[in-house]
């Protein structure tokens, strides 16, 4: 072996002298076709669709799995997918889905009603990841197979947002999962870095923390929107943690699309040749949540004073203009959104007026502002807040916390900080997804750190989620939004735009606001050859 190594070193030396840093190719061309390369910051530790669902994980899950339905487009709409049609009973409690007959798992097994039943049962019984979406309304026993291609869900009560969660419940192949079960773990160990899906891609190279490859399925049962000739041979999701490295890789053409540049990078790279920016209005809201139960911020006048002192223009400047101010707790892209009149904007006179009415008429207090360590924009907003509150003689202590610590602090009234910066992306397009955050049942969750308690709002939210009449619901949601703004449980911030920078030959990019920040639907992408 050593002889071989030494000989090879000698040859390598010769080769080395002739080659020096070959210029990188654009998208990768393999003998099977083009492979699109996506540069992202976040790894995919666990692929199992019923265990985790952060943005990078879900992007890959969506690539290898199918759901009964799928979100597409802007505004997001629910499209039939594995289910070609469905009906609801009068009382809104029974949902029946009819499956397409040609869908196949990657190993050739048909996607049938039993697979659907098993997948939902698995999700509910594991009680992790997506389980919270349905567990209060659906028991595993409530799912039944009517025939090979018909499946029925009987809910515990009427639950209008039911359908809006289904796109995130992916269907796994029971045969494969059961074959790889260890000690009755529902195949959790195996599905961590394997898949048992029917999606447009199957797994290729899987190098945790380095890169994850999805290979296109040639005869995907639903076909390819870009046409068989144009479809890529696969997609590589490459982990690039530093924005600077992402930018360099995109400019050199080592990757075709990146997600994590700084606001200033986007402005700058937009001018580069061959690069296009995807810039879309998202659904992720930013709020500075007050602890409304304890400490100085339990005083509504102080909360109002802070809200009126905030420099809202600077929030937009932090994103270099790629953001828009919230006009309601419910994002614009969501049904039922209204522009709440009189939502605070910077007005120092009013701020001082409210401060005078508060328990701290002369300020002189220091309030903590907690943000997730490493979240650059949240840190910068903290600096804006600090600057904004100086005229009120209120000092701000900016405290970065690790995400788990911040969540732990926010789970109890006693420890919840006076001000916490929170980004929230609703998981569905139904207004309930946001309104329920202000329901008392949400206490303990990170997005409910304000411990907001208004019995009137709670009652309206309960009423709206069980009603199937949209007009009635719309009216309720309008009232809910107005009331929340009046109570000022948080400084309503902005909706940041979702941005990606891509090479201009990358085609088929489809934005949908219901996807998480960074998440892209890989299915319709393709490369247009020069």
């Amino acid at each position: 072996m050593f002889g071989k190594i030494i000989r090879n070193i000698a040859i390598a030396g010769l080769l080395a002298s002739s080659v020096l840093a070959t210029p990188a190719a654009a998208f990768e061309r393999t003998d099977k076709g083009n492979v699109i390369v996506f540069g992202g910051r976040q790894a995919i530790p666990v692929l199992d669709p019923h265990i985790r669902y952060d943005w990078s994980t879900r992007m890959m899950q969506q690539a290898v799995y199918d759901g009964l339905v799928k979100y597409e487009g802007d505004p997001a709409e629910i499209k039939p997918w594995l289910a070609e049609k469905w009906e609801t009973s009068e009382d809104g409690k029974t949902w029946t889905f009819h499956l397409v007959k040609n869908a196949k798992f990657h190993n050739g097994d048909p996607v049938n009603a039993e697979a659907v039943r098993y997948s939902f049962e698995r999700g509910l019984k594991l009680n992790k990841g997506v389980a919270w979406m349905l567990k209060d309304f659906l028991a595993p026993e409530g799912i039944s197979v009517v025939d090979d291609y018909t499946v029925k869900f009987e809910l515990k009560g009427p639950y209008t947002p039911f359908l809006s969660f289904l796109p995130w419940w992916y269907i796994v192949n029971p045969a494969q999962v059961k074959a790889n079960e260890v000690d009755g773990d529902y195949g959790q160990k195996w599905l961590t870095d394997n898949e048992a899906g029917s999606g447009p891609f199957k797994l290729g190279r899987w190098e945790p923390n380095v890169l994850y490859e999805a290979e296109a399925v040639a005869d995907y049962w639903k076909g390819w929107p870009q046409g068989e000739a144009n479809r890529p041979a696969g997609v590589i999701f490459k982990i690039i943690r530093e924005p600077a490295a992402q930018k360099a890789a995109l400019q050199r053409g080592e990757v075709d699309i990146v997600e994590g540049l700084t606001p200033d990078d986007y402005v700058q790279i937009a001018r580069a040749k061959g690069i296009a920016i995807e810039d879309h209005k998202g659904m992720t809201t930013f709020g500075i949540k007050f602890n409304t139960q304890q400490g100085p911020t339990a005083d509504i006048n102080l909360r109002k004073a802070i809200a009126y002192a905030m420099d809202y223009d600077a929030l937009i400047q932090v994103y270099n203009g790629a953001a828009s101010l919230e006009t309601s707790p419910i994002p614009d892209a969501m049904r039922g959104h209204i522009d709440v009149p009189g939502i605070p904007r910077k007005d120092l006179a009013k701020a001082k007026e409210y401060l005078a009415k508060s328990g701290y008429p002369n300020g002189g207090i220091t309030l903590p502002y907690v943000h997730v360590a490493g979240l650059e924009e949240a840190r910068r907003i903290g600096l804006v807040l600090l600057d904004s509150l100086k005229p009120l003689n209120i000092n701000v202590e900016i405290k970065p916390e690790q995400w788990p610590n911040m969540v732990a602090l926010g789970s109890k009234v006693e420890t919840s900080p006076a001000m916490t910066s929170v980004y929230t992306t609703p998981v569905s397009t139904d207004p309930d997804a946001v309104a329920y955050q202000y329901h008392k049942n949400s206490w303990g969750q990170y997005f409910a750190m304000m411990f907001y308690d208004n019995p009137k709002v709670t009652e309206m939210v309960d009423k709206a989620r069980s009603s199937s009449n949209w007009d009635e619901r719309a009216k309720l949601y309008a009232d809910i939004q107005t009331q929340i703004v009046a109570d000022q449980p948080e400084v309503f911030g902005m909706l940041q735009n979702r941005r990606w920078a891509r090479r201009d030959y990358l085609q088929g990019f489809q934005f949908s606001p219901v996807r998480f920040t960074g998440e892209v639907d890989l299915y319709p992408l393709w490369v247009k050859a020069e």
Partner: protein, 312 residues
């Protein structure tokens, strides 16, 4: 042997009627220090180190008074002037919030000085105390202290500090605390070895025989004789402590904004590479020059105070 023990009194002949002047009483020490000063001045690297350290101390003392935009260190923002390249208005350019980087770097010297002094001070106090006790008492006390010390020495400092800060949460106080926790064992080992060798010396024996109490011996005989290597080590450690704190800051566990700390500045600045290069260049240069200064100074001091231990 190291420099002559500093506590030895000089026998002067008769003339008891006239009290000795300070110069006369300390003639030998003065001669000794003159020699040190001469050796020190002769070495270019030592003088460079001294210059850097003095400059650093001056900036730490007067920085906020001399910088053009002192409010830049307390969180004043000016979004219209963000990410400006170096110019006559902003010598080192501006950062992503429009704050003057020159002002922040200069005022950051005070933060760094504080970090260095607290870490080194805490570590030295704990380490020297334990070291002297271990070396002087011996027996099982020594065994326990030294086992414990070796345990800490066996874990790479930065890795352990990282774990501690991650557990306690980011912030400069936690950083300093974590680094002090991993820093003291070095002093124990140094002082213990020194104490062991000194306590066998004749003058300790004689002090004990005339009835000197243990604390008195420790304070008047052992400690002064350990001082040279301790001073050398502390000078070196000032630099290394500042560097380590900056490293934790770089990982994102350092000072809270808007406090100007060099490592944290680079941590943010890194995302603005390469187009806004000045942002990370200047804080990094400040760290480098400061640490270099303390290390060169320590190295120079070692050459004259403790020549035998050099390079060990």
């Amino acid at each position: 042997m190291t420099a002559a023990p500093m506590n030895t009194q000089i026998d002067t002949p008769a003339e008891a009627s006239r009290p000795l002047t300070f110069r006369e009483r300390h003639a030998s020490q003065i001669r000794q220090w003159r020699l040190y000063a001469h050796m020190f001045r002769k070495s270019f690297s030592s003088m460079l180190g001294l210059t850097l350290v003095v400059l650093f101390l001056l900036l730490a003392a007067f920085g906020p008074l001399i910088v053009p935009y002192p409010e830049a260190a307390s969180g004043a923002i000016n979004m219209s002037a963000k990410l400006q390249p170096p110019s006559s208005t902003y010598w080192f350019g501006t950062d992503e919030m429009g704050a003057d980087i020159f002002s922040r770097v200069i005022i950051g010297a005070r933060t760094s000085l504080w970090i260095g002094v607290v870490i080194t001070g805490l570590a030295a106090i704990v380490g020297i105390t334990l070291g002297i006790i271990a070396g002087y008492r011996g027996g099982w006390v020594r065994a326990v202290i030294m086992r414990f010390t070796e345990l800490f020495l066996a874990v790479p400092g930065l890795a352990l500090a990282l774990a501690i800060v991650a557990a306690l949460g980011p912030g400069i106080t936690n950083c300093v605390l974590a680094l002090a926790i991993v820093w003291w064992p070095g002093y124990v080992r140094l002082v213990e070895a020194k104490t062991l060798s000194i306590k066998e010396e004749l003058f300790i024996e004689s002090a004990r025989s005339i009835g000197a109490k243990t604390p008195w011996i420790l304070w008047h005989h052992i400690l002064p004789n350990c001082m040279s290597p301790i001073i050398v080590k502390m000078s070196m450690d000032m630099g290394m402590a500042i560097l380590s704190a900056a490293s934790l800051g770089f990982i994102g566990l350092g000072a809270q904004p808007p406090s100007p700390e060099w490592g944290s500045m680079i941590s943010v600045a890194r995302t603005y590479m390469p187009d806004w290069w000045w942002y990370s260049l200047f804080p990094g240069a400040a760290i480098f020059l400061t640490v270099l200064g303390f290390n060169l100074l320590g190295d120079g001091l070692r050459d004259i105070l403790d020549p035998r231990s050099r390079d060990r």
